[in-house]
């Protein structure tokens, strides 16, 4: 696996505008095409040079994207079925594919009209094929009212509070940090809407222990990145960002949450040590982290499982501004799914690249050299990329 270290780079990033009402005005395909074209332009590539496409699960096919973009020589098309962990896991596939010579330039698009179209929560609740455990959730969760992701993950959060004394104020510190960062991001949906800990605590309960502000946004938006070999990256328009380490894994069992021997052992528990081993660094060497923040507790848990702090220490780790810009580990410098927009994890990769290029403006992490991006999806699938400038 370490044979992949620094052999592939992210060479292009693209984003659409992120918005809620009235919506993007584009189709689900159209919004992803717009982000893809921007990523290609950023890289200085034409669609005809792209020969690999890795769409996000259930949001569009490589075939239709290639047809629209004029990708006439599609040599590699695949989707990693890990929900929100898919974009970062796809970086691993893309790196392996370009290093092996299976394709030269791989496009990773993701996007949806998560506000103006069908809401995420409705998709999950009403469409069994979109459920990670499929028939298991239909037959053993949903009849008992356990129908949507915040409810599944609240079960884990509650257990963490019981075992480690994690508090609502600690979850709130995560929501507040993401919101602070969004104030420095001109494109963030929650820009100009600051959040205090008191306002967080006063927000309505959705599914205990998750309040409104523990939950990610539902937004319209798309983002895309392009991966190629480190060798080819040198000839392109922008300063490449190197994939030092990357890994993805699933918890056991991956299709059922409640019977895991250890509820906190998720895909990231397995993936993170592998990625750090590949990169040959430790979590202490990391300058910032973009952590998949579908809900606040998932940030806390992933900080623990990535090794930024010990199991059970996430609550105290996130307090007192430690994960804010200027803290020991700035987390989700764009505002994340909680306060920037819900772009399925792809915007986390885009933000990491922007930080490592030194293009993050007011929210730039000083001297950012190494950044971590994680993905969390389905019932706890995990992925992690360690990137460097």
């Amino acid at each position: 696996m370490s044979r992949l270290k620094d052999r592939a780079c992210i060479v292009g990033i693209g984003e659409t505008a992120y918005c809620r009402a009235p919506g993007s005005g584009l189709s689900q395909l159209g919004i992803q095409l717009q982000a893809s074209l921007r990523a290609l332009d950023d890289a200085g590539l034409t669609p005809r040079q792209i020969d690999g496409v890795m769409p996000f699960p259930n949001l569009g096919s490589a075939e239709e994207m290639a047809a629209n973009l004029g990708i006439a020589s599609l040599r590699f098309a695949a989707t990693v079925h890990m929900g929100g962990a898919a974009p970062v896991a796809s970086l691993q596939h893309a790196a392996a594919v370009v290093v092996a010579g299976i394709a030269d330039y791989v496009l990773l698009p993701a996007g949806w009209n998560g506000y103006s179209g069908r809401r995420a929560r409705e998709t999950i609740a009403m469409d069994v094929s979109s459920l990670p455990g499929g028939a298991i959730a239909r037959d053993y969760y949903m009849p008992y009212g356990l129908t949507a992701p915040p409810q599944w993950y609240a079960l884990i959060a509650r257990r963490h509070m019981h075992e480690f004394g994690t508090t609502p104020e600690q979850l709130g510190a995560i929501a507040v940090a993401m919101r602070k960062h969004a104030q420095l991001n001109p494109g963030a949906v929650m820009r100009d809407k600051p959040l205090t800990l008191d306002a967080y605590l006063a927000s309505p309960m959705i599914t205990d222990p998750y309040r409104l502000f523990d939950c990610c946004l539902e937004t319209d938006g798309a983002a895309a990145v392009v991966v190629t070999t480190t060798e080819r990256a040198r000839d392109l328009r922008r300063r490449p960002v190197s994939i030092m380490g990357v890994a993805a894994a699933q918890p056991y069992p991956a299709d059922e949450i409640t019977n895991r021997a250890d509820l906190f052992e998720t895909g990231l528990t397995i993936a993170a040590p592998r990625a750090f081993q590949m990169a040959d660094i430790t979590p202490a060497d990391v300058d910032f982290a973009e952590i998949y923040d579908c809900f606040t507790f998932e940030v806390l848990q992933q900080l623990e499982e990535t090794g930024f702090c010990g199991r059970g220490e996430g609550g105290s780790f996130v307090e007192h501004g430690a994960i804010e810009l200027g803290g020991v580990l700035p987390v989700n410098t764009h505002g994340g799914l909680l306060s920037d927009a819900h772009v399925l994890g792809m915007s986390h990769i885009v933000e990491a690249v922007r930080q490592l290029r030194g293009d993050a403006g007011e929210r730039q992490v000083e001297d950012a050299e190494i950044g971590v991006v994680t993905g969390w999806g389905d019932f706890g699938d995990g992925s992690i990329a360690i990137l460097r400038r």
Binding site: G145, I156, T207, D208, P253, N259
Partner: protein, 146 residues
């Protein structure tokens, strides 16, 4: 949505609560519930209990198993209080609390308590199975405070 609906108000269709699909091993599990018995698969080879139903024993790989009767007793392992329903079928139930019960056999099941207000729930609360016939064909296992 037709224009006529503006003149003649029509009640929105009531979405039923989701039900298990009665097929395969799931049908067998719920058929036992309909007979008033909570049973889980138990490996005939290494005697490990398992839930949800699986084809093979993940402990030893054996494909031989039988439905063994549970004591029906367990403890609350974790829960959430759904204050806002996220499926229209549960809109009238909120707030309600899906719970995970860890059975004496070691397996965990998602269910609900029939006699406990959400704010009284506690981890390790002892509970006992009861049966709720939600349709003539389908009976769901629920729990009562022991």
């Amino acid at each position: 949505m037709s224009d006529a609906s503006a003149k003649t108000p029509v009640a929105p269709p009531i979405t039923p609560r989701p039900l298990p699909a009665m097929q395969g091993l799931t049908q067998q599990f719920y058929d036992w519930c309909r007979q008033g018995e909570l049973r889980f698969q138990r490996c005939d080879s290494c005697h490990a209990w398992r839930h949800v139903p699986r084809e093979l024993c993940a402990q030893c790989g054996a494909a031989v198993w039988s439905w063994q009767r549970s004591s029906g007793r367990g403890r609350v392992f974790t829960w959430t209080v759904a204050v806002r329903a996220m499926h229209p079928g549960f809109a009238g139930d909120a707030p309600y609390a899906p719970v995970v019960v860890e059975m004496e056999e070691g397996v965990r099941v998602v269910s609900q308590l029939v006699d406990c207000a959400p704010d009284l729930l506690a981890i390790d609360m002892p509970v006992t199975v009861v049966f709720d016939a939600v349709t003539p064909e389908i009976t769901l296992p629920r729990f009562t405070r022991a």
